[in-house]
Amino acid sequence: MTAYSAADNATSVATINLKTDHHRAIAAGGRAICEGACVSLRNEVAQMRGAVTDAETGELIASATGAFILSLQKATA
């Protein structure tokens, strides 16, 4: 979703690859917060970083980096 919003003229996003690091388990029923950030956006490729933390303790549950290919709407003249 963050990759999609990183480019204001993106019409679709497809995942190229995703690497997830698992740090700790979260109890079933627990609340988690996910944050995503765009590291770079170039040649229709968005390089992203994301993390999931435990909403109660703030501890890191998992983090990931991924590359996404964007389809951009052509600018109208």
Binding site: A14, T15, I16, N17, L18, K19, T20, D21, H22
Partner: protein
């Protein structure tokens, strides 16, 4: 054959709710063990093109690796994913996903596996994954 019985694989898979959610099954095709994700409407990520969600593919690849590894270990050994790297080679459509797991190395503390999956044509790979797991007694 990897020296793993299909019964051992099923015993591990039957324990968990994620297997139910994925509609996961293991089967024998010839002498090869094949993991199957039975397609369900809840697996759709993009309704416009009827594609499977990448997270579903990733979860299936990772889960298949965990099951294949667990079946090779003493019962009760915990298999925790350290990390998983998935390459989405092509878009996955609204039908079953089949996967093959190759255990690259089964150590005392760590195991490595490579997983590849396809749909109707075995040579048309949809996604591949490298999974690394910590083994805990």
């Amino acid at each position: 054959m990897t020296g793993t019985s299909i019964e051992a694989l099923r015993a591990h898979a039957d324990k968990t709710p994620i297997a139910t959610w994925l509609n996961y099954a293991v089967e024998l095709q010839g002498d090869e063990i094949i993991h199957r994700l039975g397609f369900d409407e809840r697996h759709i990520g993009n309704p416009t093109i009827r594609a499977l969600h990448g997270g579903v593919t990733a979860a299936f690849l990772e889960f298949s690796a965990q099951i294949a590894i667990a079946a090779r270990l003493k019962p009760g050994t915990k298999v925790q994913t350290i990390n998983a790297a998935v390459d989405y080679v092509a878009s996955a459509k609204d039908r079953d996903l089949l996967a093959r797991v190759e255990i690259t190395r089964l150590g005392r503390r760590i195991a490595f596996a490579t997983v590849e999956c396809w749909q109707n044509n075995e040579t048309a790979v949809v996604a591949t994954a490298q999974v690394c797991c910590r083994l805990l007694p």
